[in-house]
Symmetry: C2
Subunit: 347 residues, 2 copies
């Protein structure tokens, strides 16, 4: 039974975190709120809302505004949020255009800064950004870093050549110990698909996948049943090895592809393969080797492989950097409201 | 915000259901228990355990045994379970050997009956079993039916020829209305993988998949992050269409395969493809076209496609019918403890 108790504790922790986030998110639409307004909007019970508010007041994220003027019954207490008291630093490493952002506790981006990644020492680039950001914003409470790499048990691997200095490093542990802040390190496509899910498709259980195809490689981010799919060793979505291109794998076929038609066939094969296994609701495509005009031909080719009418909705994703940054921020917001982080890192 | 409130309600319902099941399951190891013994074993709080026990007492599933003899402090109240008050009827349709079972609320199988499926009218076979079972066991509170078919929005499709009379029928709704009991209708491989997950691998988040290859077709059951993956329209795991066999799909390659070597290559291609996308912890194989001796060659071939050392643990599954029946029963047990079923169907 040991395992089950543990599982139950994890489950409760998750519920607590999601509820805290839900209470915070309430204030996106309301300038101020009473306990019962929050309860109505979140579907949570008044005692649950009360307990969450107390933690948030203690952490300085919510302010007690005082009582409403009495109009018959007992006057209700009003609360307001201080969104600038808990900031997230999100750092999105990308082969062609990297950016870092500062976001408030409502998930709103306050500042957005492109940065250069030409130096060979990526860790010191990251350290410089963190130090600059912490000096300008002492309210940063969590750091969220996206990397175009796989992460196996915390250790970075399979980085593209430009970021090879990150390989074999437990970046999260290093940054956490150096700056004494909670840190998330996440694969870029996982962050991108989570950004899309949490901002635009929250509640979709049928699956949302994002296939990215560039001159430097391919990758897939997967959300199923509302949860990110990382796989057993963090390597879910490594579609480069998928043996679906007439005896070749996707990576080799992509490297060799020179024509528009070849690229369309490769993406169609990936679309059909992913559909056979996951039957997702949405299939997003992005990356500089693909343009939106190719979509009709991709769908037509894929429907020769996997019956038409069952194919997911296929969409070309614009503003991938926007999804990437939102994903990093939203994953950090989910993380920060864990009871553990309250105790250790927020005061 | 409407969507978020709804999502929160679903989440709570799930937590409530899982907790109720956890309290019931406690009694698998204890003849009787006090509230604090249950709280300790489940990790739930005493008030939560108390609320769940009250519902279960009202439903006749738990009995109040009276107080312990006093030894110092306030004597504790003891509870015992009546596992025969809530029975599940599980009906597992299979091409070669179908069975139905009666299980108690602890998930223990009480009776197991093979049945014949040669008749052309599968629905009337199912009705006969239900009527026979309900007459012998009036305590049956839920029916769980497994079919070797896909289920799209409740409607059965893609059945093998032998069960083609099921196609285009909303079997769940039909049986529910006729017998006024909650009914689950589930794809066979989904039930099989859930049986394995819930009985043997509960808590594994890295993914568990089960690939089934017979003379009549192929299929895949998938559990990721502890949840069954059904896909957007119930067609996740339709691996027959996977275009991974040197330009042919798995179904065509399997139909054409005559040698042991060809079959090994097909299974290895599926193993590698599924691994690239899902990176699961376990990959089970079963079906009469495969024997356990083939596993080393399957793994060796697959590791030419997807790097060795990242492949999942590959296992040959014995007693697939046992997993199938356990899956049907355990899915029914999870379903029956929803608050909805309490209100409507259990008294």
């Amino acid at each position: 039974m040991e395992k089950k108790s543990q599982y139950s504790a994890v489950h409760y922790d998750l519920v607590r975190r999601m509820n805290t986030l839900r209470v915070i998110t309430c204030f996106q639409n309301l300038e101020t709120a009473t306990k019962s307004e929050i309860a109505r909007q979140t579907g949570l019970s008044i005692p649950t809302v009360g307990a969450i508010l107390n933690s948030l007041i203690e952490a300085g994220e919510i302010l007690q505004q005082g009582l409403d003027s009495p109009n018959g019954g007992r006057p209700a207490e009003r609360f307001e949020i201080c969104p600038l008291n808990t900031l997230t630093l999100g750092i999105a490493l990308n082969l062609h255009s990297s950016e870092y952002v500062i976001a408030d506790s409502l998930g709103t981006i306050l500042e957005r800064h492109p940065f250069d990644t030409e130096s060979e020492n990526t860790v010191s680039i990251i350290e410089n950004i963190i130090e600059e950001a912490l000096e300008a914003h002492p309210a940063v409470k969590i750091i969220s870093i996206g990397v175009p790499s796989s992460i196996n048990d915390g250790v970075i691997c399979f980085s593209p050549r430009k970021f090879k200095s990150l390989n074999d490093i437990n970046l999260g542990r290093y940054i956490r110990e150096k700056y004494q802040l909670p840190v998330i390190v996440e694969n870029d496509l996982n962050a991108i698909v989570q950004g899309q899910y949490l901002r635009e498709y929250d509640g979709v259980t049928g699956g949302l996948v994002h296939f990215f195809i560039t001159a430097d490689g391919v990758g897939l981010g997967i959300n199923v049943n509302g949860q990110l799919v990382r796989g057993n060793t963090g390597l879910a979505g490594e579609t480069g090895f998928l043996p679906c291109c007439n005896g070749r794998n996707v990576r080799d076929a992509t490297d060799a592809a020179t024509t528009r038609k070849e690229l369309i066939e490769i993406v169609a094969n990936v679309l059909a393969s992913v559909s056979c296994i996951l039957n997702p609701h949405y299939f997003f495509i992005s990356g500089e080797r693909i343009d939106p005009d190719m979509l009709p031909e991709i769908k037509a080719y894929a429907s020769k492989i996997w019956p038409d009418g069952i194919l997911p909705e296929v969409k070309y994703a614009n503003d991938v950097m926007g999804h990437y940054l939102n994903g990093l921020i939203d994953m950090a917001r989910k993380e920060i409201y864990s009871p553990d982080n309250y105790l250790v890192n927020i005061s």
